[in-house]
């Protein structure tokens, strides 16, 4: 089953949409100045010319070739693919929000500002930080913003020699990439044999040239950094700051806070922890939250509540400035606010507790048949290794992933983190029931049986998709990126 490109269904003259006729007074069109010829476009663009039903069928069929959380379990590690409540979609579609212009007079946008202000208050409580900014559009954008603030903090203090950011080898790829964009040198910190930060290695790298340590806690192995208080003390003693990558915040909501752990700045992923939909790769939202030390450096404008209502504050001298065009991905921010209102204090805590319960249940069952190299218990996710399968039967993590697709599941994250050979990283989230997990476990065990009995089936998987494994090399060597 393949779907043609819409452009290939084009027929000159066919239309899916009509504008009302231009109804300016008679004669005005003649008076209209012509666009100077040197500014006029010369060539037409090739866009589809189709009927409305063609558009509807095309995109409806395309959507049937996509697997989302609404279709089935999606245990993609570190991405927190939890259920996205329909209430959020309903509210984000309300005209009273979608039809508001970002530059309306402030007295006419008090509703939007109240959503943003109250969400910042709630996020401050949940993370144990002082305040934040909702401008960043995604997690990596939040990292960039937080690191920029760290940079400005040290420049302001005249500590220009602090040019290094320490990052564990197990960190998300965006961490080192964001540090590089901000102009820091990246220095890797080793993991110890438990999969945690190697404190000795860290100590050897801490000096007056270190600006910050970036950490995910729990880390990408799903393990809590039990030495975190010691680590934060060490970093602070050396004059550095601590950055918390909030990608894994779904493990600890209501149980502990990054603020108590000693972090100075964190980013959250509202599209992970706070249940806003991932949209096929975005839009997300990556708020940064800070303690008092970094608060003056937050992006502008801040929102303040005064006697006359909410106002923007533009006058913070130390602010790093703006990081997005307007105020952030407002409709995503709104959905996260709705989620928190619905869940409340007990609900967000229950979400994390059940996310951790589900991950441990899954790990306990799968761990009987496949190696989970690090940790006896895990937090919200865990990493298994297909290394033995590869040695015994030639079946790789990739093969297992593709076979899961045939079973109707989105595979776990594969080949990440880099410290686990043939890594399969599972994050079931709190959304899945025990029956749903049991069905997944059965499917996974069937695949392990096949690895032994008929590995060829796995090597050729998936068998039940519109396409089989694609020729990635050809995609790179002969790029075909447009019609």
């Amino acid at each position: 089953m393949s779907e043609p490109l819409l452009i290939d269904l084009s027929k000159p003259g066919r239309k899916a949409y009509c504008y009302p006729p231009l109804d300016l007074p008679r004669g005005f069109d003649q008076a209209l100045p012509e666009l100077p010829p040197e500014l006029q476009r010369q060539t037409a663009a090739r866009l589809p010319e189709v009927a409305e039903l063609d558009v509807v069928r095309h995109f409806t069929r395309l959507s049937s070739l996509v697997h989302g959380v609404d279709n089935g379990m999606y245990p993609l590690g570190s991405c927190t693919m939890k259920y996205n409540p329909k209430l959020g979609e309903h509210i984000a579609a309300m005209d009273q929000f979608t039809q508001i212009h970002p530059l309306q007079d402030i007295s006419t946008v008090q509703g939007c500002l109240s959503v943003m202000y109250n969400l910042l208050e709630d996020l401050s409580s949940i993370t144990g930080m002082s305040w934040g900014s909702l401008q960043p559009c995604a997690g990596a954008h939040g990292e960039y913003t937080g690191l920029k603030m760290i940079r400005s903090y040290f420049l302001k203090r005249g500590e220009t020699e602090r040019v290094k950011v320490l990052i564990p080898v197990s960190a998300h790829g965006t961490n080192p990439a964001s540090a590089a964009v901000v102009g820091f040198d990246v220095v890797e910190v080793k993991s110890n044999k438990e999969g945690l930060v190697d404190v000795e290695d860290l100590a050897s790298k801490l000096d007056h040239t270190v600006a910050a340590l970036m950490l995910t806690n729990p880390n990408t192995l799903g393990l809590f950094e039990t030495d975190i208080l010691k680590i934060s003390e060490m970093v602070h003693k050396a004059g550095g700051l601590l950055y918390y990558d909030g990608a894994n915040m779904n493990a600890i909501m209501g149980m502990a806070t990054p603020g108590d752990m000693g972090f100075d700045v964190i980013h959250l992923n509202l599209h992970k922890t706070f249940s806003t939909p991932h949209g096929g790769g975005g839009p997300g939202s990556g708020p940064v939250m800070v303690n008092d030390r970094l608060r003056p450096f937050l992006p502008k404008p801040d929102i303040e509540l005064t006697d006359s209502g909410y106002v923007y504050r533009w006058d913070d001298e130390d602010s790093i400035g703006k990081v997005s065009m307007f105020w952030g991905n407002f409709l995503v921010i709104l959905r996260a606010y709705v989620y928190i209102l619905r869940m409340g204090s007990e609900g967000i805590k229950a979400a994390s507790r059940h996310a951790v319960l589900n991950a441990n249940y899954l790990a306990s069952k799968l761990g009987q048949r496949i190696s989970i190299p690090y940790g006896k218990l895990c937090m919200h996710e865990f990493v298994a290794s297909a290394s033995a399968l590869k040695q015994q039967y030639g079946v790789t993590a990739q093969d297992v992933a593709k076979a899961l697709i045939d079973e109707g599941y989105h595979p776990p994250t594969v080949y990440f983190p880099l410290i686990v050979d043939e890594a399969l990283m599972f994050e079931p989230t709190e959304s899945e029931s025990v029956e749903s997990l049991d069905r997944f476990i059965e499917a996974f065990l069937r695949i392990l049986d096949l690895a032994k009995d008929d590995p060829k089936i796995l090597k050729d998987a998936p068998h039940h998709c519109p396409v089989g494994r694609l020729d990635e090399v050809r995609a790179v060597k002969e790029p075909d990126l447009r019609y």
Partner: protein, 451 residues
């Protein structure tokens, strides 16, 4: 205890804990230690039912006031076909993530491929990516790309006439790095590119300009690309993509990079976000483009399929040596633009652009007849123009009186630039969506105030 969106029963919890081999859920958190485990609940409100949340949001929403928007400055109220919301709300599009697993994401990948194609067609350039955060961040990525493409360069020239917020975002990006931004001054509302020659040196990576610019004016880039290329530098043109239905495309000006925001193509105002940044580049820059790129290829049976490609540029492979740190982008917003363009076709785009042009000129022409306001610069514009008031009091009264009529008359430039020099400038945007009645209502109110 039943919690929203969590399916577990008491019996489930007991059975699961038993399987894990622990007594309680608390045992799973023992690693956090007594020092870190919170004793009290997080101080946010208790949970609410769906109905309670809806009522609460309804009352918050009432504090937003809607009017007839003649507001622009990077966010415009255009007509959007009903197909856009209906099709972009299909649950599998909404609830999927980045299509890492190509075989079960073909629909999403193909839609992105169609998006990339349309952006290439509209800008005239060769290669487009899957989207960036917004127009301002697209400018940041363009600046990074130009610096990376020229050895030992460290300066990016930026026209003073680009959107004030995009300029702020660029300044944040340059802060504390070895890169710097040098402004090209303006002359009568457009970039003074006569000054370009004297500013070009080995250290200059390229130039970023914008048309229509911050005043809504269209700029002339005749011979700009040639002068930059002779210096080994690149040209980036930022443009509202809808304007490209009638004005010269970035490729026709000889640009190497085209950027902007697709908000005008199917995205609601939404208090400014999500919108969707776009970037297209010439073939020579193919392997430097930031972010996700989808390509077509074949499977082992020769069937055509789509996949994320050229990933060796990206952060999850290259880490600190990646071309950008971007991971999540604005995929669903890009899908909305793709559906919008599929519905409009080129004819529809041209119609929307021409009607916006005509209606903006109609309003501008009649406003210019009134005392106390002028259209300062006699330069071509598209759907937005600067109206300059003789004094601040008159401007305030104008805005207030029109608001009383339910009209949002324009954006004060000084609210963006925070500069007193811009205090008397009002930017008025008129799209094809503004009806004749709305235009006449605006004019009637304006005549009453400015008599």
């Amino acid at each position: 205890m039943i919690y929203p969106y969590i399916p577990h029963t008491d019996a489930d919890r007991r059975a699961m804990l038993k399987a894990i081999g622990v007594e309680s859920i608390d045992d799973l958190f023992s690693g956090l230690g007594a020092d870190l485990l919170l004793e009290d609940s997080v101080p946010i409100s208790h949970g609410r039912t769906e109905d309670e949340v809806q009522r609460m949001i309804d009352s918050i929403a009432q504090r937003n006031v809607r009017g007839i928007p003649f507001l622009g400055c990077g966010c415009y109220d255009h007509i959007t076909p009903a197909t856009v919301r209906a099709l972009s709300s299909l649950p599998s599009f909404v609830t999927a993530y980045t299509p890492y697993q190509a075989e079960m994401s073909q629909g999403l990948l193909q839609a992105i491929y169609e998006f990339q194609s349309m952006i290439c067609e509209i800008t005239g350039l060769d290669v487009a990516n899957a989207s960036l955060y917004d127009g301002a961040n697209a400018a940041v990525e363009a600046a990074s790309l130009m610096l990376a493409a020229k050895r030992k360069s460290r300066v990016v020239l930026v026209s003073e006439t680009i959107h004030p917020f995009a300029l702020k975002v660029l300044n944040t990006w340059a802060l504390g790095t070895e890169h710097s931004i040098t402004l090209i001054p303006q002359l009568d509302g457009t970039a003074d590119l006569e000054k370009l020659e004297s500013m070009l040196g080995d250290e200059v990576a390229g130039l970023i300009v914008q048309t229509p610019n911050r005043y809504g004016l269209l700029e002339d880039y005749t011979s700009v690309a040639e002068r930059l290329h002779a210096n080994g530098s690149l040209l980036t043109i930022s443009a509202d993509p809808l304007s490209l239905a009638i004005q010269k495309s970035p490729a026709e000006w000889g640009a190497d990079i085209a950027i902007g925001d697709t908000q005008a193509l199917g995205l609601p105002l939404a208090f400014g976000g999500p919108s969707c940044g776009y970037m297209a580049v010439s073939q020579a820059l193919l392997r430097r483009i930031p972010g996700r790129v989808v390509g077509a290829t074949v499977d082992s049976q020769g069937r055509r399929g789509y996949t994320l490609t050229l990933q060796a540029r990206e952060q999850h492979i290259k880490r600190e040596r990646a071309t950008s740190n971007i991971c999540s982008n604005q995929a669903l917003a890009a899908l909305m633009t793709t559906i919008h363009l599929s519905s409009l076709g080129w004819g529809g785009m041209v119609e929307a652009a021409q009607q916006s042009y005509a209606k903006a000129h109609y309003l501008a022409y009649h406003l210019a007849q009134l005392p106390g306001v002028t259209l300062v610069w006699d330069k071509p514009f598209w759907c937005e123009f600067p109206l300059v008031f003789s004094d601040a009091k008159r401007m305030r009264k104008f805005l207030q009186e029109l608001r009383n009529e339910g009209i949002f008359a324009g954006v004060r430039l000084s609210s963006l630039t925070r500069k007193s020099a811009d205090e008397l400038v009002l930017l008025v945007a008129v799209t094809e969506k503004r009806s004749r009645e709305e235009l006449e209502l605006y004019l009637a109110a304006a005549r009453r105030v400015l008599k």
